[in-house]
Symmetry: T
Subunit: 156 residues, 12 copies
């Protein structure tokens, strides 16, 4: 039973809810990983990378909020607790301690790459059950792919 | 004969124009209904609901303008006159006089619910004739479903 | 019995409430008429008139809110529903479809003219029962007469 | 003898000065009472009432400044000292200690009610001696009556 | 014959138009006198008086625009040309050359005093023919009397 | 070989890259044509058209940047050099020298019309290879069609 | 029994609560005294002192709110009613009527001086029971001592 | 004898002072003429010309202030009184009463033309005595010539 | 070995670093818990609590950044990864799924209460090794105790 | 024959018009070259150079608009069409495809260098015919030389 | 050898570089002198002079930055170190300790006077070698001469 | 004898005054050193370091003002003249001429390091005589240590 009803039929709600829950966890972890490297980056490009990572954080936080509230809007309770993020995120665990700037850039390319792959699967999965959620996932993917290009350009 | 020509062929323009005209009337009525309850709500949650309704008004007004101008952009004259709204809106007539806050929340859940159902039909109807108009209707529906969740959460 | 009491005695409240309810309907209809012509105007002055009409809309909406909340403040429930506007507005029905810019200017001169006449009667009617409401109606009339001059100057 | 002369003749200045001095004290006390309850309110509506009271404070402070400077403008020295407020305010003393939200709303309805009654008398008293001061008192009363409605609507 | 018609009957329009035209000239001259002394003031209070005069200029310019547009709104063409101001202003000619700060303050007290006297007559004259114009003149007078107090307080 | 890799397979990247490169050139040329006419327009509607053209410039520049960065995001180097624009733009060459306002409006209707036709083909072409790029092209087309309506309305 | 519990043990709460209640009354009275002289100051430095006093008012009001809410945060109900201020303030009663600018400066030096002495005692008293409240009182004292210097510098 | 000394020798100060005084009067009259036509313009281009004239007013007022303060800065007391403007302005007297929009545009072309001619003479006259004042006059002329082009383009 | 050296000797750095790392984890978890309940709250106070929780989120995020960067500033690498937060936070795990508003308020009172207790221990621990870090922890505790009061007041 | 007349005699207008037209083309091409490299830069300094280039774009666009409108102001129709830019720009064609950050910096040093050389010739050429246009070219050159220094400093 | 090359030939660069270096030192010292007196001024005009001096500081700092970056732009390394300022400034050493307001005004008149004399020499010296740098020095001198007038007017 | 009295006894004032005077000189020199390197830095990290140094300048200027005004507030005249800074600063003299970016980073690490050491001594010295001044010095040290970390991270 759902507290919040929705105009989506049950199966569509299940598929869409799973896609949104997955996106939520990935985006929350992306925001934590970007903050972790924002604080621990060292090397000559420190300042540039430090600032760039805070833009990733801001984007990831905004989109995490959007997908969580979208889940609620279709009657699915979102789960963004620390343990859930730690267990189900699609991003590889990052190392603790100081990290060289060149390595940070590679970490971000990899993290964004794996989230983008999963987001593209979610775009496909939601096309028929819910074009409204799909449109939100498309917009988020555009932002992630822009960061993906920028970090790649930096390591070229 | 149309004063403003468009790159849409006749049938596509007809289907899309109908969808946009329908959305216009629903959104204008939603803005009037939300204002009506904004002024007449009473009860312990007065201030919270009063403020929330003005957010519905602002959203409905902005989207009404968007769909009316989109209709013009595809060569269809929009009709947002009071009598047209009174006659063709998909929202049930609301009672006059003061209304209890709990009842206002239910009125909004119902009004948003019926507009959303019609918007989802319009999203389907415009997919092939005009993906540009469809994209606008998708964005509007996302906003309406967000309000729909919030008023439901409040009456839970 | 009134939910919201007021420091105005019954007769004063009745007279003032009627004036404010009349003003509310006129202002809501003015906002709808100005939006309708904002969307449907055509002709060489399109852009200038299109922008000018949105200033009328903004002014009419703000003042409609003010008179509705003033009615509530004296214990009278305001009625701004679509059907009430359609039935009791003092503005003549405008034509649907595209309208030439010169004609739009005339429509506005006429609409503003008839609302102003009724507002001046309301200013007189409220002077003794409630100078506070009268002061609000005076301020609104000043704004309407300013638009009235501008549209007349344009058609000179 | 007055340091600041004015275009008002002596009797008019006396009547108007008394009205403004009375309004000053009432508004300063209203700002103190609203702050006192802003800090001490408890209960499920805490946040809503807490925020609403700060709007009353802001309005009361702005208007207190206006009437005090208006008194100076007509050559009458205003008196807004703590002891003067404590002795001559028209608002009943409020209790110290935490207060339930429902009780706070009643306190505000009562406080605003008694200030409004006195303001309406001042509007009458100043009509002939000084329409400029009267206009200021009318504007203040409109704001107070708006708050009066809102707190009443909340306790309905 | 008037290009811009108005809801005011002929005599009312004549009386009100004269009041507004008089106010226009006084306010334009006040703005020029305040600028003249803003540039030519000398003495230990230079900076304080220099800044204060620019507030008078800003207020006078805003109100001049308001009364001129109000005249147009009632169908009366306003006249704010340099020669008209030079010939019909109610303010005494100020001296050219540098002026001591104490003298500047006296000049402003006198200039404001004579404009206020005329404004109070215009408030009386317009009460019956046009309460809308009267309300505008009342608001302007409140501002002028506030400056009048401040310059008097400075010369006390 | 591409410096920036992407999650799009080769063929999808080629199709999408071509669509984005075409859109880039059209939008850059639109911004140059709108500026050219912004500077050279003459006639009674000069000011209105002059301002309107700067809105086209701002929109075209913003969208040019978006599609160029989108191309980079999918691993395709964008080309927006003057010679490329001059050679491959879909907009007809505009005349040099002063241009009458009525003619400017026709130039814009034609320029927007031809860009829109090509954008609609790009929307179709990118639907399957890359819904993310398609969504960007849909949003741009909505803006261009809005301008298209407005310039048509002006020449009606 | 306290409605709001706190992590401070009873004795620490009592000492800290007394310090904060004392600060609250002093700051509220300072805001009233500064407003009283803001309205009643006369003399050549009128404008400068008038503006400076409003900065004292703004600072005193902000800090009064901070200490009152800090008291609530440690479970102590704050008391800022007019009678409490009149009875327990540490500032000497100021005279009514117009006051010369030189005298106003002396009044402020004295008022600030006596509040500062009491604030320094409160800083000492709260060091061990509650370093969080102490830190707030330290910040307030810095602001008060800055004003104290400025008014002294003016009377040098 | 001059109250304000300057680093310019006497002859240079005289030449420069004359140029600045002339510029001051022309700019003040330009601001009055532009306001006069701002209020009295009629015809289909009313709104566009009405708004454009207020930009002329704002520019003329800002530059008038700049040249007056520049005169003071080189030790020359500026004279911007109504009678001085009426007597020594280089702009032809404009007619009173309503004026057609086409005529207003011609009035502005002529007024700007004659001020520009005089400004160019002042640029030449001040080159050697004071390049600092010359630079100010050059900047003002650039603005005036921009308006001159725009009003000409409108009457083409 | 530390990449970033600091003016703190080793033991002081160790104690302070532990306090800051503990604060970092608590604040990050507080931000996640507040977001989780922000999305899942239901009941009549939904809107009020939903908004209030976002203020907690913003505060917790800002302070988390401050303590992490403070750790770096004293040469200690901060660790804010999801797994670290999940494992070492001082806040009890919150339930998944929708939560009633009354229960949410209790969850926040408890979460804030346990973080405050630990923060007070950190304030004591850092007093001697590093008054700079202590001052930061004091400021954070003030904010947390303010929220603690507000949520308690709401459940009173 | 010129549509827009000017106070410059024919020869002066020709010389000045040529200088401004040359500046227009150089600045438009500079804006296109800077955008091209903004999109295609790769390498460790990607982000820094990417952002810096957008400042060049903004400056070049603003100045291009200024010189084009200055040409119009002296009665010369400006030509900023793509083909004109491609043919007559003083900047060497840049390569297509991705470009290393070090190379981008060299491209900008060279492009700015050649534009500056031509701008200095234009400053000389316009000194006598039109000091107003010269002043504009001087200001633009200051901005270009500042960027020239910065890119040189980066490659040092 | 210079790290940053410039389009200025060697002699022109030397002359212009000397002028800019001299201006840099004078402006930095002016900012320090103005701050010194901003902190140490006493007397009845304390507040007015204190605020005015901060405007001098802001202007001097902005212009110091401009001339230093202009020196770099022409390939000359600027020197703004404390010892260089102390040794080569054109401003007389100011006294330490508190200073009376009247004396502060005289100090500023003298300091500005001597900087202006040197700036006028720099304007002459740079006219032929570099009109771009000259234009910057002209603009700075205008600002300094405006302050010079104001402080003189205050001591009149 | 002191012009400005204070609530601090003589010895406490002496100790605190010395600490504040020392801090003032260090912060002023830090602002000059950061500006000097802001202008003279060269190398691939030019832009990043150039911008970062301006943040140091802004912070150092703000804090210099704070400590100077704090000295005044406790009755001690601050001395921030160029010669005093040159003679008593704790920062080593920096080289003139262009400086490589890597060297600039080292200069800043060293300069900040030596200022921080002295600030920590001042924090200790002021704890008992004046906790209000100590709190200000603590806040400044937090900012300096943050910059210290960042420049160290950059050279790692």
């Amino acid at each position: 039973m759902s507290v919040v009803t929705s105009t989506l039929p049950g199966a569509a709600r299940k598929t869409t809810g799973d896609a949104l829950q997955g996106a939520l966890v990935d985006l929350l972890d992306l925001s934590l990983v970007a903050k972790q490297t924002h604080w621990n980056v060292i090397g000559p490009r420190f300042r540039s990378v430090h600032l760039q990572l805070d833009e990733v954080v801001a984007t990831a936080r905004t989109h995490a909020d959007t997908v969580a509230e979208r889940a609620a809007a279709i009657g699915v309770s979102p789960d963004g607790r620390a343990a859930t993020v730690a267990k189900t995120s699609g991003i590889d665990t990052v190392t603790d301690n100081w990290v060289k700037d060149t390595e940070v850039v590679e970490i971000l390319v990899a993290a964004l790459g794996s989230v983008i792959t999963r987001m593209r699967q979610r775009i496909e999965a939601t096309e028929h059950p819910d074009p409204v959620s799909q449109d939100i996932l498309i917009g988020i993917t555009a932002d992630l792919e822009k960061f993906h290009w920028m970090f790649q350009a930096e390591s070229a």
